[in-house]
Every structure is written in structure tokens, then in C-alpha cells.
């Protein structure tokens, strides 16, 4: 029950997940240690996004176990709110709250959920906006920001909750090519600060650069995994080879 930092921060074991008759995850296992950055890659429809959405209980699982800091996620009595305070998530479509300014978006959860003091929250929110290099955009509404800027606000919003793990669900997939770089840089900064990150991504160059470990999924299973150098250069499985040859 008691979790210590030398154990995996996120431990996924034999997870099965179906939508109706369609089995999306067919027994997936992986571990993420504290401070580690892992990237999950694979063709679309292979269950990557579903997997990380299970980690913060946006999707439930039918079988298997997901533990976040020792807490079992696949438990009907799970306190989802407590889990989600520890696990931040950034989405492909940013999903900023359009009726709030950038700084208000960042402040909302600490104020309303954690009930923190307003002046402290605002100070921290402004610091976070500075950290994602958006100084001067504090009072802009999401509609006035570019995709890359919105996504960085979304990252700041998630960080404001002081999560232990961050989930990134294809966060650059909806962006214009010229703004992809600024979002990746922000994630890289985070990784260098020691944040534990699980990324679903199609940015192979980025995965190679920042990931400690790469997982390749196809049709609901992990086909192959390893550190970036060996994964990209010495892929053994034919499916991995085929995927990499298509994408690189």
C-alpha cells in the first residue's frame, strides 16, 4: 500500500479495455519511474490515447491494474478527484475554457479545486505563464491566441495543480508546423526539470531526443520497447520496422 519513490510512479499491468465489442487494449503493461519521460508511439487506432486516458480515469478499464503512486485506479471506490490532483493532462485540442483569459484558465483549478489563496494562486499563475514563455499574453482570451500559444497555456494550467505526472495526448497533432517547436520546447523544459511525463506523440525526432524509453503499440498491444537509441536504430519487430520506415 505504501508507495516509495524507488517504486514505479505509474505502473500499468495487463490492462484490457473495450468499447462495446471492440477491444482497444489487449493486455498492456509498462512502468514509469519518477522523473522519467516515456513516449508511446504507434499507428492511429492502436490504443495509445486510450491508454493514457485510463491513467487519470477518464476511461475505465475492464481488466488489469493501473497504479499511480501505489493507488489502484481500477477500483470502483477510487477517489477520482484525488487521483487527478496528482495527474495532469494536456489534450490534442487544448480545451482551454474560452470564457476565461489565459491567466484565469491557469488560476481556476487551484482556486476552485484546491481552494488556495487567491493572491498566491495569481502570483504562481503568472510565473507559470512566464515559464511557458507567454509573458504579456496573461489577459488574452484563448480565441485571441494561436494554437501553439493555447497549448502552452493548457500546459501551464495543468502545471498549476502541481501534478506528479503529466500526460500529453498528441499535443502537437492539431498545431501548425511553425508552432510545434515552441510547444515541444516547453515540454522539453519540463522534462529537464525532472517532471515525470507520459507522451503520446508522432514527433519521432522529439521522442528520440527527450524520451528515456519508447513504447511502440499496435492493435492494442506493446509490440516493442526500449531506450530511444536502440529502439530507433535496432528495431527487431517487422511491424515496428514498417512503421518507422513509413514515418521517418
Amino acid at each position: 500500500m505504501s508507495w516509495t519513490e524507488d517504486q514505479p510512479m505509474v505502473s500499468i499491468k495487463d490492462v484490457h479495455k473495450s468499447f462495446g465489442d471492440l477491444e482497444v487494449l489487449k493486455g498492456v503493461s509498462l512502468d514509469v519511474k519518477k522523473g522519467e519521460v516515456i513516449c508511446i508511439i504507434g499507428p492511429s487506432g492502436s490504443g495509445k490515447s486510450t491508454l493514457i486516458r485510463c491513467v487519470n480515469a477518464l476511461n475505465d478499464i475492464q481488466q488489469g491494474s493501473i497504479r499511480v503512486e501505489g493507488q489502484e485506479v481500477n477500483d470502483p471506490d477510487l477517489n477520482k478527484l484525488e487521483l487527478r490532483k496528482k495527474v495532469g493532462m494536456v489534450f490534442q485540442q487544448y480545451n482551454l475554457f474560452p470564457h476565461k483569459t489565459a491567466v484565469q484558465n491557469v488560476m481556476m483549478a487551484p482556486l476552485r479545486v484546491l481552494k488556495q489563496d487567491k493572491s498566491a494562486v495569481e502570483k504562481k499563475a503568472r510565473a507559470l505563464i512566464k515559464k511557458v514563455r507567454l509573458e504579456g499574453k496573461e489577459d488574452a482570451f484563448p480565441g485571441e491566441l494561436s494554437g501553439g500559444q493555447q497549448q502552452r497555456v493548457a500546459i501551464a494550467r495543468s502545471l498549476a495543480m502541481n501534478p506528479d505526472v503529466m500526460l500529453f495526448d498528441e499535443v502537437t497533432a492539431a498545431l501548425d508546423p511553425e508552432t510545434v517547436g515552441e510547444v515541444l520546447q516547453t515540454i522539453k523544459d519540463l522534462a529537464e526539470d525532472g517532471m515525470t511525463c507520459i507522451l503520446v506523440t508522432h514527433e519521432m525526432g522529439f521522442a528520440r531526443e527527450v524520451a528515456d524509453h519508447i513504447y511502440f503499440t499496435d492493435r492494442g498491444v506493446i509490440v516493442e520497447h526500449g531506450p530511444p537509441a536502440s529502439f530507433f536504430d535496432e528495431a527487431k519487430d517487422p511491424r515496428t520496422k514498417e512503421f518507422l520506415s513509413q514515418i521517418l
Binding site: L58, K80, N95, M108, M161
Partner: protein, 282 residues
Amino acid sequence: MKHTSAQSILPVLLQGKGKALNGFDFSPKLWHGVILLAVCLLTSTISFAQSAPAKISVIDALFRWMPLLLQGFVFNLVISVFAMAIGTASGAALGLGQISPNVAIRKVCWFVTQFFRNSPWLVLLFFAMFLLPFEFSVFGLKIPLPDWLKATVGLSLPVMANVSEIVRGAVNSLPSGQWEAAESLAFSRRQTLWEIILPQCVKRMLPPWMNLYAILTMATVLASIVGVSEVMTLTGQALAAEGGRTDLLAPFYSFVLLIFFIYCYPIARWTVYLEQKFAVKG
């Protein structure tokens, strides 16, 4: 003498309307109003030309009854405001019930909404008139329930059902990503709904809500059928008091049409304006 007074009024009214025209673009609805005004005046003058000299002119008759008719119209507005308030409050609750995570609540609210939304307004009005008591007692205190209040409750029923659908529709029209983002920031369902979803829905709900109000205002004349002294009832009484002169029918009812138009048209324009404004921002 009578002629000159009628003629002196005509240009004044037309001039005023002409000024208003400059501010708006010519939409079919505005033409509708202009035509109404023309019909009102035309029927007045034609009727006047046909009437025997012993009777007072149509214009004079209209002016004599105008204060009473306007009073009746204000009563229509009072009914519309109360019915809208009751309907909005109960409809908002019903609409939120329709999106409740509890299946039983959701089904009951859905059924109630569909039942009242698909019933004729007049039937609901009769339903309220005959089912509600004329008075009810609270702790031995007898509180009377006058007809107009019963009619208000009757009219608020379809409003409630329509507001319920407006709320449900607005909530469902938001992208699911808003819910997911809030959930992943550890907002509870209640917080998500009240602090993130509903504030965004207000804008989307406002135009259809105003539209509904305009429809309700026009429907308040139904209360005349159940004997409430609103503008239609009073018009009938005024016509009877003038001895049932057939030449007065068209001008009097045109006048009623006109005041409803003057009240409802700006609401319709404003609704269109808001729809356009919100459509740009998304």
C-alpha cells in the same frame, strides 16, 4: 373638423415610422409592421368615410379606448413576464435534470419536458384553469388564486418545457473536451457544470430564450379565452360598448396587432443581433 384631425395625425405617425426605417435594414418583418400600420390607418379612414355622420369617427373611437386597450396590453406584459420567470426557473431545473447522471431523474425530466413541449398551449391553459383551485390555504390562511395567475401558470408550462430543451441543447452543444479538461483538473461534476459549462451556455441560450419570450408574449392573448381581462378581452368589450359597429372591428384589431408588433419586433431584431454576435466568436 374630424377629417383634419385624422389627416394631421397620419403624416406624424408615418414620419415617425420613416425615421425608424433609416436605422434598420429593410427586413420582411419590418415591412410587416409598416403594412400593419397602413392597414390600421386605412381601415380607420375607410370606415370613417362609410360611417353615418351621427356616430363618432373611427379615429376618435380608437383614441377614446386606447388608454384602456393599452392598460390591457400592459396586463399581457405582466402575464408574459411572470410566466417567463416561472417557466425559466422551473425549465432550468428540468433541463439540468435532463443531463443528470442519475438515470431515473434524467428519464422523468425528459418525459415531463416532452409532454409539455408537445401539447397545445391552449390545452395547457385550460388544464391549468380547471385543475388549479381558485384559492388555497397555507396554515389556515386562505390565499386566493385569481384567474390571471392561473392563466400565468398555464402559460408557464410550455415555456418551462421549451426552456428545458434550450438548457439541454446548450449543454450538449459544448465540445466534450470542455468536460474532459475540467475533469482532468479534478473539478467535480457539479463544479464543472456550474463553473465551466453553464457560464459558456448562457450566451448560447440567450437568443432562443428571447425568441421564446416573444412567442409567449404573443400567446398571452390566449388568456382572453379563459376570461382574463387582457387586451383581447378588453377590445371585445370596447367594441361591444360601441354598439357592435362592424366598421370598428378592423381598426381595433389592427391596433392590437400593431402594439404587439411594436413590442415584439425589437426583441426579434435584438435576438438576430445577438445570434450574429455570438456566432462570430463561437
